[in-house]
């Protein structure tokens, strides 16, 4: 018997959003489609729609985040939900309260959704298994495991520029080892049916057996970039690095930093993406980050629409969640 996918309810509708694994292509397409009209809400004089009026959404961030937390908060507010931001460093967990006790207290306050960022892989899954049935949990990044809403906003950005996923070659560059974003992107790209996903980086930053996820591994940047339609640059996650994985930042930039010259190996209409925060001069040249092929700021804007879609599909128990 196949283990039940706790992300779906009995009717196969979206309940939690924890990882890309477990979703079929149609689920992901539904989320992308649902995000399209939300991308226009900011054009209204009143930048809000009343879909989640009366719902309470808790931002539960155990790890630092600016972009993800603020875009989740903005997304919730544009849906007219009430948002509670819990700063874990100053909360009672630092007084010794356990995570599950804290959750049960928040449940007692009649919250409807937890958005969870944690440095431990599997934290959002654990929370989803212990919350009351009416509560939805969204994973906003857990350890090195998964960051599904980031992957979906990247898919949304790719679709807006390239229309079809088939026939695309996507190259993910850099610190794959520590990147939950890369893992979620690889699952999403393969589920949506792109032709080829390549990862490129130094041997020390590419996990062993990553080929089993359906990617081609490269260690030479130039070879990897030939024919690329989409280039996704990743940040060097120095805070997660244990031991000497890199000779130096200069050496890394020389080999894997995206410069004008390296970009010229990709297709002329290739787009350049980065989940942020970017380190200029470490993984990407400023002229590329701010250049015409960069869609890095669009990714931030699209993050709001995608998060609105995921929140309204989980809390609305959309019939559209069916595959």
């Amino acid at each position: 018997m196949i283990a039940k996918n706790i992300q779906l309810d009995e009717q196969g509708r979206l309940k939690h959003f924890l990882s890309i694994e477990g979703f079929k292509r149609q689920h992901l397409v539904n989320i992308l489609d649902a995000a399209e009209p939300f991308a226009n809400v900011h054009e209204q004089a009143v930048k809000k729609v009343p879909l989640l009026r009366g719902k309470t959404i808790v931002n539960l961030f155990f790890e630092a985040s600016t972009r993800t937390r603020t875009t989740f908060e903005l997304a919730a507010k544009r849906l007219s939900a009430d948002v509670l931001n819990i700063n874990i460093i100053t909360s009672a967990t630092s007084k010794g309260e356990s995570l599950l006790d804290m959750l049960h207290n928040l449940e007692a306050m009649h919250c409807d959704m937890f958005i969870v960022r944690h440095n431990q892989s599997g934290a959002a899954h654990l929370i989803a298994q212990h919350v009351s049935p009416h509560i939805s949990v969204i994973n906003a990044g857990d350890g090195c495991h998964s960051h599904p809403s980031q992957a979906m906003l990247d898919m949304f950005t790719i679709r807006r520029h390239k229309k079809e996923f088939a026939n695309l070659t996507v190259v993910i560059v850099g610190d794959i080892l520590h990147s939950r974003v890369a893992r979620s992107q690889i699952h999403a790209l393969n589920t949506l049916g792109v032709t080829e996903v390549r990862v490129v980086g130094p041997k020390t930053l590419i996990p062993t057996q990553i080929e089993t996820l359906g990617v081609h591994v490269y260690h030479d940047m130039q070879t990897a970039l030939v024919g690329a339609d989409v280039i996704i640059m990743l940040r060097l996650q120095k805070e997660r690095m244990q031991g000497a994985l890199l000779p130096s930042e200069n050496e890394y930039y020389h080999q894997y930093g995206l410069t004008e010259k390296k970009l010229s190996y990709a297709k002329s209409d290739a787009i350049v993406m980065h989940p942020g925060p970017i380190n200029r001069g470490v993984e990407i040249a400023s002229s590329i980050a701010d250049g015409p092929q960069s869609v890095i700021l669009e990714q931030v804007t699209n993050g709001i629409a995608i998060r609105m879609a995921v929140m309204s599909q989980t809390l609305g128990r959309s019939s559209g969640g069916n595959a």
């Binding site: 539904n30 009209p37 809000k48 729609v49 599909q313 609305g316």
Partner: protein, 178 residues
């Protein structure tokens, strides 16, 4: 197939019968907007049937502002029950609605809940000078204090009877499903 009406019986599956209703609406809207400054008039059709009707009317009325389309999915009162349809088309209201005279067009007026949602959405885009509701059919059964200023035809349906506009070409009224 015909539907009972206070006036002439309504013929279904007949594009010509529909043209007659559109003509009635056109005349009524024309005399209504004659009192307004031409550039202050904005026509908005409710997605999808109302927009098809609005397209037909807009062609003949010489309104200068672009035709708007309104998708009320985000403003429905039954969202938590039925969820969100994944293929919601975004609303397109290309001009500011402040101080405009809005002609809001829908196909069938029934409970009034769609119009309630549409009014809420319109007011999130601005403060219009007035809103005139124009519908192809008024089938009664209102659950809210809402009425149409301009009506193609009033009809009376048997319990359980449904009527639906199919389109966009040809536009025709049918029973139940397209």
């Amino acid at each position: 197939m015909t539907i009972t009406s206070e006036t002439a019986p309504l013929e279904l599956n007949n594009p010509l019968a529909l043209d007659a209703l559109l003509d009635t609406m056109h005349q009524a809207i024309k005399s209504k907007i004659a009192h307004f400054e031409k550039e202050d008039v904005v026509m908005i059709g409710i997605h999808t049937g109302g927009f098809w009707i609005a397209e037909k009317l807009y062609e003949k009325l010489g309104i200068t502002a672009p035709l708007g389309s309104l998708n009320i999915s985000f403003y429905r009162d039954d969202f938590t029950k039925i969820g969100l349809h994944p293929e919601v088309k975004p609303s397109q209201l290309p001009t500011s609605l402040d101080d405009k005279h809005i002609i809001l067009v829908d196909d069938v007026l029934f409970t009034g809940r769609t119009v309630r949602a549409a009014l809420n959405e319109i007011f999130d885009y601005g403060r219009p000078a007035s809103v005139t509701l124009a519908v192809l059919l008024d089938r009664g059964g209102r659950e809210l204090p809402i009425y149409a200023d301009i009506i193609g035809q009033k009809v009376t349906l048997e319990p359980g009877q449904q009527i639906k506009l199919c389109g966009p070409s040809p536009l025709q009224l049918v029973q139940n499903k397209c």
